[in-house]
């Protein structure tokens, strides 16, 4: 509970408490503006913190955030980078369970799919799903859209996206050797993957 002591200076608020007027404040995280009576309210329990914009910005209003206490578990959003584990590879798509959204791990399971056209940026019609992913691979992907009722649509069509960790047939964690190949350190066998470029 170190956090509490650090942020005790901020006032503790609960959902529905008035934070101020939108003329003086911008609603940030955990706050919202109610249009019908023109008031900024809190929507979470937490500490009220004010962030002042740099002096040269056109909008001089500070942003009010409510932070510090519990927020609900992470939910995938459009544009977020997620870490997912591949569960099933089919001819036109692969399905994956989302494990992390940005830096936060999810509390509940979310399913995503990577379609054939979203695996890489070039020659998207020649992608072979089976030489891009295998079940059990850990993939870094971008959330393209909320998808359909079943799954989120994910994409790995960027250098830094793709397989970040994979096990070989022999059961060892493989070492990436190019953007399409990974090698098993035990057997020296080379397997095909859509490899993510890490740390470049």
């Amino acid at each position: 509970m170190k956090e509490n002591e650090e942020e005790k200076s901020g006032q503790l608020v609960t959902p529905g408490e008035v934070l101020g007027k939108p003329a003086e404040l911008k609603a940030g995280k955990g706050a919202y503006v109610s249009p019908h009576n023109n008031t900024v309210y809190a929507s979470l329990t937490g500490f009220r913190t004010l962030t002042y914009p740099p002096p040269d910005s056109p909008d001089p209003r500070p942003t009010v955030d409510v932070t510090g206490h519990k927020a609900h578990g992470a939910v995938p959003e459009i544009g977020a980078i997620v870490i997912a584990r591949v569960t099933k590879v089919m001819a036109r798509m692969a399905s994956a369970d989302i494990m992390c959204v940005g830096p936060k791990s999810v509390r509940e399971k979310f399913t995503g799919i990577i379609r054939q056209q979203d695996v890489r940026a070039t020659e998207i019609d020649k992608v072979d799903m089976h030489s891009s992913f295998h079940p059990g691979d850990i993939v870094r992907a971008l959330v393209l859209s909320l998808g359909d009722a079943r799954a989120y649509h994910l994409s790995t069509a960027k250098d830094e996206l793709g397989v970040v960790s994979a096990e070989s047939a022999a059961g060892a964690t493989m070492v990436p050797i190019s953007w399409t190949e990974m090698q098993c350190p035990l057997t020296g066998q080379i397997e095909q993957r859509k490899v993510a470029k890490i740390g470049a």
Binding site: T14, P15, G16, E17, Y32, S34, S43, L44, H72, A149
Partner: protein, 256 residues
């Protein structure tokens, strides 16, 4: 043996007619004493705590007199596969009774009705846009039924939602009222509820001063309804304050 059996009746039944007559004479009088000795406009003492269920994302326990309720909130989590796609989040509510909630086993009221009432009461207070495509599950369990369950469940659920960190427009407080003859009694116990001529429940967001749900049953006269609504709204705003202080306590005195 056979003769003995025929002498004793196969089923036991209290004679409700004589009891009813006794009660109704008290109820028609203007100075009606409540079974628990409260004043007509006095609510039951309440006890509220968040974090009753470790396993849930958020939970709360509420005790109003003899009515004891646990609400757990799960999610936001993936909606069921059969659900249509939606840009907004969904709320799923379920109310159930323990088998020992009522003095006689299995006498609990229809919990499906309560579930949809709970859903309607909470729906308006949740910022559903904050978790698109996903579902928040609210499970309420009535441990002991001592009257006015629904308002207790609603208030407790709103506390559990706040504990789970679900974005809310405001807390939701709910209070009910019974009309017994000439008397208006707030926060009725089961006994009073069973003899009421009319019942009224108001669910409101105290700080925004908005009503999310209002249910009126039975016989009411316009001035009575007016008075009851004023009393309920006032009680809601006071209950809201208690709920806020409960949430604040949970932050300042961590129970872990």
């Amino acid at each position: 043996m056979a003769g003995k059996i025929s002498n004793t009746p196969a089923t036991y039944m209290p004679s409700p007619t004589s009891q009813n007559k006794k009660m109704s004479s008290i109820f028609t009088g203007s100075d009606w004493v409540r079974p628990d000795g409260r004043g007509p406009h006095q609510c039951r003492p309440s006890f509220l705590r968040t974090g009753a269920v470790n396993y849930a994302s958020g939970s709360a326990y509420a005790e109003f007199g003899n009515t004891k309720v646990i609400v757990s909130v799960f999610g936001p989590r993936e909606s069921k596969k059969a659900m249509m796609y939606s840009d907004m989040g969904r709320l799923n509510c379920n109310v159930s009774y323990t088998s020992f909630a009522t003095p006689i086993r299995g006498q609990a009221s229809e919990s499906k009705d309560l579930s949809s009432m709970l859903h309607k009461a909470l729906e308006g207070a949740i910022i559903l846009e904050s978790f698109p495509k996903t579902t928040v599950d609210v499970f309420a369990l009535v441990l002991e039924s001592g009257g006015s369950e629904l308002p207790v469940i609603i208030s407790c659920a709103s506390l559990a939602l706040a504990d789970a960190g679900i974005m809310l427009y405001d807390m939701v407080a709910s209070v009910s009222m019974s009309c017994l003859g000439k008397n208006l009694v707030i926060d009725p116990v089961s006994e009073e509820e069973s003899y009421q001529d009319g019942g009224l429940m108001i669910t409101c967001m105290p700080s925004r001063n908005e009503v999310t749900q209002m249910t009126v049953t039975g016989e009411w006269s316009t001035p009575k309804i007016h008075e009851a609504m004023q009393l309920c709204l006032d009680a809601c705003s006071k209950l809201g304050k208690i709920m806020r202080s409960c949430l604040k306590e949970a932050v300042t005195l961590p129970q872990e």
